[in-house]
C-alpha cells in the first residue's frame, strides 16, 4: 500500500508540474463547453423573417406585431404563398417563414385549433432550432394572454418544418458529446502518453527491473486519471446545468455510474495504446487518429448517424462513445432509467473487459 501511495504521489507531481497536462485536463473541458455552448445559445437579434398570411385578420396582425416587437425577429417580406420560400432561403433573404392558415382568426375564436406553420432554413441547424424555440415561445405567450378568463381555451398549434436538415437533434446534444470527447481525451490519451513517456525516458526500464509487478505499475499510472476524469465529468455536467441550463432529468447517481464505466473503458483503451507505442509521439498520434476523430465524427456527437453512409454506420458500432452518448442522452435529456440503457451499458462493460484483457496480455514484464 505504501508503494502504491508513493507511486500515486509521483504521478500527481508529473501531472501538476506539466503545464500542458494541466491545460488539457482542466482548461480544455471548460473551453470546449463554453465554445460549443455559446455558439449554440447565441442570443437572437433581428432574425430576418417573412410572413405568408392566408387569413389576414386582426389576430394574425396582432401576432405579427408581437413577434416583431420582441426584437428577436424583423419582418422583411410578406408573401402570397409558400412557392417562393425555397428561393428566398437559397438567396439568404430570410431565415424563417411564418405561415397562417386560411381562416386562422375564425378557428381561433371558435376554440378549435388554429394552425400556423413555421418554415426555417436549417442549413444552420442550431440557429434554426433556436429560432423556432423563440417563435414558439412568443406564440405560447400570446395564447396564454388570450385565454385568460376563457372557459373553452383557444389554441394555436404550430407545425414546424425544418428545411435541409429535417432530423435535427436537440441543442442539448453538445453536453453529452463534449463529455464523451473530454473523458476519452483525458483518460485514454493522457494515460497512454504518460506510460509512453516512461518508456521514452528510459524510466520504464528501471521500473521493470524493480520488484514492482506490471499490475502495480498500471494501477499506479491509471488511478490519478480515473480521479481527474471523474472530476471532469462533474465539471461538465455542472457547467451544463448551471451555465446553459441543460437538465439532468434522470438519476444523477446512474449518470455518474455510467460515466465511471466509460472512464474505465477509456483508461483501459489508453493502456492498450501505450503497450503498442514506444514514444509519446506515437501514443499521441494513435490517440488522436484512433480515438479523437472517431469520437467526434462517428459517435453521433456532431453528425447524425442515420444520415451517414451504411459502412460508416456499421463502423460506428465499435466506437465506444457512440454507446456512451446514447446512455447519457437518455439519462440527462429524456430522464430514462437503467431499464432503457442496460443494453448500451452491457456493450461498454464488454469493451472495457476486452481492452483490460488485451492490455494485461500485452503489457510486458521485459523490454521485448
Amino acid at each position: 500500500m505504501k508503494r502504491f501511495i508513493g507511486f500515486l504521489k509521483k504521478e500527481f507531481y508529473h501531472i501538476f508540474r506539466d503545464k500542458r497536462s494541466m491545460l488539457i485536463l482542466f482548461g480544455m473541458p471548460i473551453v470546449q463547453l463554453l465554445l460549443f455552448g455559446f455558439v449554440i445559445t447565441n442570443d437572437l437579434k433581428d432574425v430576418k423573417m417573412a410572413v405568408v398570411d392566408h387569413s389576414k385578420d386582426e389576430y394574425t396582425s396582432e401576432i405579427i406585431n408581437k413577434i416583431t416587437s420582441s426584437g428577436y425577429f424583423k419582418l422583411v417580406k410578406s408573401l402570397d404563398g409558400i412557392a417562393q420560400v425555397d428561393e428566398l432561403f437559397r438567396k439568404g433573404e430570410t431565415k424563417l417563414v411564418l405561415v397562417f392558415e386560411p381562416d386562422f382568426g375564425k378557428n381561433f375564436i371558435k376554440g378549435s385549433k388554429a394552425s400556423v406553420q413555421i418554415l426555417t432554413d436549417a442549413s444552420e441547424p442550431n440557429m434554426a432550432s433556436l429560432e423556432v424555440n423563440y417563435l414558439q415561445g412568443i406564440l405560447q405567450n400570446y395564447n396564454l394572454e388570450i385565454n385568460r378568463g376563457k372557459i373553452v381555451p383557444s389554441q394555436i398549434s404550430t407545425q414546424t418544418r425544418m428545411y435541409f436538415n429535417p432530423n435535427m437533434e436537440s441543442v442539448y446534444m453538445f453536453v453529452p458529446g463534449i463529455m464523451a470527447t473530454i473523458l476519452m481525451l483525458v483518460s485514454a490519451m493522457m494515460t497512454s502518453i504518460s506510460i509512453a513517456r516512461e518508456k521514452e525516458m528510459g524510466t520504464m526500464e528501471i521500473l521493470l527491473v524493480s520488484p514492482l509487478r506490471p499490475l502495480q505499475i498500471i494501477l499506479g499510472k491509471v488511478t490519478p486519471y480515473l480521479f481527474l476524469s471523474f472530476i471532469n465529468a462533474l465539471v461538465i455536467v455542472g457547467m451544463g446545468y448551471f451555465v446553459f441550463g441543460v437538465p439532468v432529468l434522470g438519476s444523477f447517481a446512474l449518470l455518474m455510474a455510467e460515466s465511471l464505466l466509460f472512464i474505465l473503458m477509456a483508461l483501459s483503451l489508453g493502456i492498450f495504446i501505450s503497450t503498442v507505442s514506444d514514444s509519446q509521439q506515437v501514443a499521441m498520434m494513435l490517440s488522436m487518429f484512433a480515438l479523437m476523430l472517431p469520437t467526434i465524427l462517428l459517435s453521433g456527437f456532431i453528425f447524425p448517424l442515420r444520415n451517414m453512409p451504411v459502412p460508416l454506420q456499421i463502423i460506428s458500432h465499435i466506437i465506444p462513445p457512440r454507446w456512451f452518448i446514447i446512455i447519457i442522452k437518455n439519462i440527462m435529456l429524456k430522464g430514462s432509467g437503467f431499464e432503457f440503457v442496460w443494453k448500451e451499458t452491457l456493450i461498454l462493460i464488454g469493451m472495457t473487459a476486452g481492452f483490460i484483457g488485451l492490455s494485461v496480455k500485452k503489457f510486458k514484464i521485459r523490454l521485448e
Binding site: 508513493g6 508529473h14 525516458m201
Partner: protein, 308 residues
C-alpha cells in the same frame, strides 16, 4: 554472501544482427569488473539480459545463484541497475526521485543512509532542484543513489561516465571504489579504454565477443610485440612513412606520437631510422614503451578480424 555473476554461452540477436555471441563470463563476489568496448560491442545487450529485461536466444546466466530467466523476480530484488541513458524523472526533484525509488523497493531513505551517505552528501545541497536541471555529473550521482537505495548485492552500471566531463568521471570512480569496500559486486561498462585500469578485472569486448578477459596488468603483459613510440615534428608524415615501411606490423596514432610494432622478431631499430631519414625525416624521437590497454585492444581486435 555470494554475489556472483556467472554467464554460460549467452547469445542474443536482433533479427540478422547478432549482438552477443556465446559469451562466457564469471564475475566474483565483491569484484569491480569492467566491460570495455566501443558502441556496438554488446555491452548494453549483456546488461539488459542480466537485468532480466531481455530473454536470451540461447545460453544461461545466474546472479547470486538465481537463474536469470526463471527466477527473475528474485533477481529484481537484489539488483541495482543504472541504464546508459539518464533514466530518472526530470520533473521530480532530487529528493522526490530518491524517495520514489525507496518506496518502489518498500524501504526508506533513512534506513539506507549508510549505503549512500558518501554520494548523498554531494548532491544534498541540490535536493530541491528538479533532476532535469542538474549537470551531467550530478545526474549520474543521483542515478547511482537511486540504484543503491535498496542495498543491492549486484550493481550494473551501463556507461555511467559517457558524456560526463573528466572531473566528474574521476569523482565517479572514487565513489565506485568506496562502494566496493561495502562488498557490492560492481559491473561497469565503458567505452573509455583508460578506465580499464580502474577495474580489478576487465573483459575487452567487440562486436558481441569477448576479445580478452583478465586483470588490466594481465592483459598488458600478454601484449606480445615490442612496442615503440615515434615522435616527429610532422606527425602525419611520420605516420604515412611508417605505414609504407615494408615490415610494418601495426602503426597507430597516439596523440602527437605514433605507436609502432614490427613483423620481425629480430628487428633492428637503426634500419627503420635509416628508412625514415631516406624519406627526409631526420629528427625522430624513438623509444620502446610498455603497451597500454588501448594498444592491446587494437592488437586483439586486428587479430580477431584476421582470424575471420
Amino acid at each position: 554472501m555470494n554475489s556472483t555473476v556467472s554467464i554460460n554461452n549467452l547469445s542474443k540477436s536482433y533479427g540478422d544482427v547478432s549482438a552477443l555471441k556465446e559469451i562466457n563470463l564469471n564475475i566474483k563476489s565483491g569484484e569491480l569488473f569492467g566491460l570495455i568496448g566501443p558502441d556496438g560491442a554488446g555491452k548494453t545487450t549483456l546488461f539488459r539480459l542480466l537485468a532480466t529485461l531481455l530473454l536470451p536466444d540461447s545460453g544461461s546466466a545466474a546472479l547470486c545463484g538465481f537463474e536469470m530467466v526463471k527466477e527473475y523476480r528474485h533477481i529484481r530484488n537484489i539488483l541495482g541497475y543504472m541504464p546508459g541513458k539518464f533514466s530518472l524523472y526530470q520533473d521530480l526533484t532530487v529528493l522526490e526521485n530518491l524517495n520514489f525509488f525507496a518506496t518502489v523497493f518498500n524501504t526508506r531513505i533513512e534506513d539506507n543512509m549508510d549505503m549512500i551517505r558518501d554520494i548523498w552528501v554531494q548532491i544534498e545541497p541540490f535536493k530541491d532542484r528538479p533532476a532535469g536541471k542538474l549537470s551531467g555529473g550530478m545526474k549520474q550521482k543521483l542515478a547511482l543513489c537511486c540504484a543503491l537505495i535498496h542495498q543491492p548485492k549486484i550493481l550494473l552500471l551501463d556507461e555511467p561516465t559517457t558524456g560526463v566531463d573528466a572531473v566528474s568521471r574521476s569523482e565517479f570512480w572514487q565513489m565506485l571504489k568506496g562502494l566496493k569496500s561495502k562488498g557490492i559486486t560492481i559491473v561497469v561498462a565503458t567505452p573509455y579504454m583508460d578506465e580499464a585500469n580502474l577495474c580489478e578485472r576487465v573483459a575487452l569486448m567487440q562486436s558481441g565477443e569477448i576479445l580478452s578477459l583478465d586483470s588490466p596488468s594481465g592483459i598488458i603483459a600478454s601484449f606480445e610485440k615490442d612496442l615503440y613510440s615515434f615522435e616527429a615534428k610532422d606527425t602525419y608524415q611520420l605516420l604515412l612513412n611508417l605505414r609504407a615501411y615494408p615490415f610494418v606490423n601495426s602503426v597507430f596514432l597516439f596523440g602527437q606520437s605514433v605507436h609502432y610494432t614490427d613483423v620481425r622478431d629480430d628487428f633492428v631499430l637503426s634500419d627503420l631510422k635509416d628508412y625514415l631519414k631516406s624519406k627526409g625525416q631526420d629528427h625522430v624521437e624513438i623509444k620502446q614503451i610498455a603497451a597500454g590497454i588501448e594498444d592491446c585492444f587494437m592488437a586483439l581486435s586486428q587479430q580477431n578480424t584476421v582470424q575471420k
